[in-house]
């Protein structure tokens, strides 16, 4: 407050003194903060050097079908955001507009930008670009049919999710008609670690078992959701859900390789949920 008073006093005096005084003379006045003129000054670039990084990106065009290739792009990391998605968008804007990839929220909640970065599945919007001069290799989600460049066909994945019937099923009406079905905090806590799944398919496409049996094995994502509905205390079809999954191929292709837990960008553990289902099958 004192500074604003002083500022107003100085403004009055300087205005009164002369309007022809050059703006530079104002800067001589003692001020603890920058004036408007100072703030408008743009600093020269911090360094003239650039930090180039090479991205090797999987390309395949259905309009000119040939063997898929890895194409190199060089990006200056000093003019790019920290995440891989920022680099992809920069490449698409400035270098090659034909690069095709899915993206939406850029904050790790929609699951569109799932792809394989440097050998590990993850969301492009959450994966930081590795510093250092090594190349970053970006390929689509493993063992999926490629529609174009980094876009894969997710139909099978979504159908498997549909097949476990991911909705509440009850035999009896709710205890208080017309009101919500009550659930204790403890029961609600059982769903933690499962409801956060965004169906990005990073886990299922990291599982070698899912690679070799994509249509018969449900995959970690669908089984995680199956467990979510099995563990829901409000759902009354638990036994039927367990029987539906209790199949040599649908559930027991899981050999606890646990690549899924390592790949999940939300930090979930589908392997643990699958083990839970297997235990429930044992105990009936």
């Amino acid at each position: 407050m004192a500074t604003s008073l002083i500022r107003r006093a100085m403004n009055v005096t300087s205005r009164v003194s002369s309007s022809t005084v050059a703006p530079a003379s104002r800067l001589v006045l003692v001020r603890p903060y920058a004036s408007e003129a100072e703030a408008q000054k743009v600093e020269p670039k911090a360094a003239a050097s650039t930090n180039m990084k090479t991205f090797q990106i999987y390309r395949w065009n259905p309009d000119n079908p040939a063997k898929p290739q890895l194409q190199d792009y060089k990006i200056d990391l000093k003019e790019c955001g920290p995440m891989v998605l920022d680099a992809l968008i920069k490449i698409k804007n400035e270098i090659d507009p034909s690069l095709t990839f899915r993206r939406s929220c850029r904050e790790g909640i929609c699951g569109s930008c799932a792809m394989n970065i440097n050998g590990c599945n993850g969301l492009a919007c959450l994966t930081k670009i590795e510093s250092g001069s090594s190349e970053t290799t970006i390929t689509p989600l493993p063992h999926m049919f490629v529609i174009k460049d980094l876009v894969v066909d997710m139909t099978n994945f979504y159908n498997q999710y549909k097949s476990i019937e991911p909705w509440l099923k009850r035999k009896n009406p709710p205890p208080t008609a017309g009101k919500e079905i009550p659930q204790s905090k403890k029961d609600r806590a059982k769903l933690d670690g499962m409801y956060e799944c965004i169906l990005c398919a990073c886990c299922s496409t990291s599982c070698p078992s899912y690679w070799w049996n994509p249509e018969s094995y449900l995959g970690p994502a669908a089984l995680l959701h199956a467990n979510r509905w099995i563990s829901d205390s409000r759902d009354e079809y638990t036994k039927e859900r367990l029987d539906a999954v209790n199949d040599e191929y649908k559930l027991y292709r899981c050999h606890t390789i646990l690549n899924c837990a390592r790949a999940c960008p939300k930090g979930l553990n589908p392997g643990k949920q699958i083990q839970h289902i297997k235990q429930l099958q044992l105990t009936g």
Partner: protein, 196 residues
């Protein structure tokens, strides 16, 4: 159409293992003969023949979804990428085989996956060693008497038996430890690796 689709899915999912799925080469649709029929349901030698399943359930679903979107698209063999042909020629389609994204060569090996695959490899190795040594010990005499080169080979490689014995011992112990860990993980939730 729905019933033939259902029958096809039934047939292909139960009977046909995935290894027999036939890979179709790139096919370019002929310009006039297939476009004239606007009805997507054609019988005969088309894909929806339930007696010769050529599409796996996901491909059937893929095709069905695309057919539902546009009934003028012709059905295709193999994977149904229905890319439009040249501009201006309505209805000309190319049937293109979609590539599979790279998996084994590019995926980074991790501790958990390496341990798991070593378990499988050691199991397969032990199986072959067991069967092979059993057969060999039974038939060694008659083999060596009939094939002299065999006898030479075994004579000179006799020292290697100790090496192979220790390798099998390593495989046996690893397989046993992993098996016990698997049991503990499944039944008692002991030793599950932490996430990240």
């Amino acid at each position: 159409m729905a019933s033939s689709l259902a029958l096809k899915r039934l047939v292909s999912s139960n009977i046909l293992p995935s290894s027999l799925r036939v890979v179709r080469p790139i096919v370019t649709a002929p310009s006039t003969s297939r476009i004239s029929s606007t009805n997507a349901m054609r019988d005969g030698n088309d894909v929806f023949d339930p007696l010769s399943p050529t599409m796996s359930p996901s491909q059937v679903v893929n095709t069905r979804d695309q057919l539902m979107k546009n009934p003028f698209f012709s059905s295709s063999r193999g994977m149904a990428t229905l890319a439009k042909g040249n501009e201006g020629e309505t209805g000309e389609q190319k049937n293109i085989l979609r590539p599979l994204s790279p998996h084994l060569p590019i995926y980074k090996p991790q501790l958990n996956s390496t341990l798991s695959i070593s378990n499988r490899i050691s199991g397969a190795f032990l199986t072959t060693v067991l069967l092979f040594s059993y057969l060999l010990s039974l038939k060694m005499g008659s083999l060596c008497l009939t094939y002299s080169s065999f006898y030479q080979f075994f004579f000179y490689s006799a020292k290697l038996f100790l090496v192979s014995a220790s390798v099998s011992a390593l495989a046996m112990s690893y397989h046993t430890y992993y098996g016990i860990r698997h049991l503990l993980m499944d039944l008692l939730k002991v030793g599950v690796p932490k996430v990240k």
